[in-house]
Amino acid sequence: MTPTVMAAAGLAAAAPPQIISLPPLFDALAITVGALAGALYATRKGFDFLGIVAIAFLSGLGGGVIRDVVLQFGTPAFLANPWFLIYAASGALIGFFFAKKAQTWGFAYNALDVATMGVWVLLGCQKSLQLGLPAVSVVFVGVLASVGGGLLMNLLCGEVPTSFQPGHWHAFAAMLASITYVTLARAGAPPLTAEAATLATAAVLKWSAVRFDIRTPAPIDLSEVVRERLARRRKPVDPSIPSG
């Protein structure tokens, strides 16, 4: 294997690619929308004020916390940057006071939700690329960062995580977007192009999942198929019987 192929497969160390940090507006949008989603979810579950705020913070900031703790990237970003808590609080308050309004403005909320998933993917991927992690790990962390908030939210509500259950492919879109970013960044694409492509991939995939009702595949059982194939091959061929 050539070094580039090995680097792409993540089996050899590669120099961290150039990264242009996203403008702070993206962080603000992503955290606020995530917190709003958590607050609406908690409202639907009939939680009280503290419950709504806690679920909103978890949903808005949880992905970043998991990412920073798993990567051991130092103090989690939401503690290092005081604005992040304010974004999450504003999302929680919007969800607490204007739940009905947020539902009537569903299209805008959905658009923001679709647009911000790529931000989480990008942040996760960029931080792990900075640490010089192999490609597989970068994809893993990208998915973890985008799914983590919802995962924590579900766990705190005592439910099976929705991203694990059959449904619209949220995490799968995040995975494909992460793969897009890693491939482009490792192939030496200009950083702005790679980031735009990732955001676009995540948004298009998530939007099309809702629009065309694409659902994630459930496990397929191939045990019987493989066994039949093997049995057919193993069947002794009698030379006295003419084939055909």
Binding site: A9, L131, L133, S137, V160, F172, R215, T216, I220
Partner: protein, 288 residues
């Protein structure tokens, strides 16, 4: 991370194999619950890598080894593929998987405890970290599938087996045994304990309530006692009234106090084995 090559001396592929075994268990766990691709991948990763991830996050000594070495994630992904496509075959090979899982658990114990020792932690933290590394995968798997962790429920002996294995590893290390044989001994211990537990039907101990055994101490010492019939009106009356009346007339230390004209102290904790204080008079009767 560097420390994985310092202490352990069983071949490196055995760790990848252990991750794959845990991953297959996680993937079939997800398939049985009707999860989708991401669920299978996520639970395979959680079950296979959870222990090592938890160890490195707890140790805080740099990026976890499961992320710096791509082979770990690739083994988990391979396990997820197996679980995704061959769920029935895996459920048929349950016994084999159980044996392999017992072997993998011993290896995880050794990996966790040796990392703690490498970073200069004490004996007790090393035992704890070995145990956490061994049971962390199953713990995360059950947590992520929305269930109470199986290691914490009675009946499954794996947590105690991991604890015994960790004690063996750290003990033998303190005695100065070479790391390779130490690891082999740990893996063998965990394997034997788990298989024996399965074979003989051992169960991990459930809580033992010692309150009744020590309550007579409080009765004689006349310490102010918590009286459920006063403080907890729920305990008044009930189906056990006659039974408790007959038991009071025996040589119960409490009857002596009744003859002295004092309030009989009721047991602090009314469990299944202790008579309910139902036969005691109502508050109104006692006033006259």
């Amino acid at each position: 991370m560097a420390f994985d090559t310092v202490l352990p001396s069983v071949p490196a592929w055995s760790a990848y194999l252990a991750v794959a075994v845990g991953g297959v268990a996680g993937a079939s766990h997800a398939a049985r619950r009707g999860f989708d691709v991401i669920g299978v991948l996520g639970l395979a990763a959680a079950a296979g890598l959870g222990g090592l991830l938890l160890r490195d996050v707890l140790l805080q000594k740099g990026t976890p080894v499961v992320l710096t070495d791509p082979r770990y994630l690739l083994s988990a992904a391979f396990a997820a593929l197996l679980g995704f496509f061959f769920a029935r075959l895996i459920s048929k090979l349950r016994r084999l998987l159980l044996g392999l899982d017992a072997l993998a658990m011993g290896l995880f114990v050794a990996l966790g405890a040796s990392a703690a020792i490498f970073f200069g932690l004490g004996v007790v933290p090393a035992i704890f970290l070995g145990m956490v590394t061994a049971i962390g995968g199953g713990l995360l798997r059950d947590l992520l599938s929305g269930e109470a962790p199986a290691v914490l429920r009675p009946g499954i002996f794996s947590g105690v087996a991991a604890l015994i294995g960790a004690i063996v590893f750290v003990g033998l290390y303190e005695l100065g045994l070479a790391t390779f044989w130490n690891q082999i001994a740990t893996i063998a211990t965990v394997f034997v304990v788990r298989i024996l537990a399965l074979w003989r039907g051992w169960e991990s101990p459930t809580p033992v309530d010692m309150t009744d055994r020590i309550s007579h101490v409080f009765a004689h010492a006349r310490v102010p006692t918590f009286r459920p019939h006063v403080h907890l009106p729920l305990h008044r009356g009930g189906a056990d009234a006659e039974k408790s009346e007959s038991s009071v007339s025996g040589d119960d230390p409490r009857t002596a106090l009744v003859e002295l004209g004092e309030d009989p102290p009721a047991p602090i904790w009314v469990g299944e084995n202790s008579p309910a204080p139902a036969a005691l008079p109502d508050d109104g009767e006692r006033i006259e």
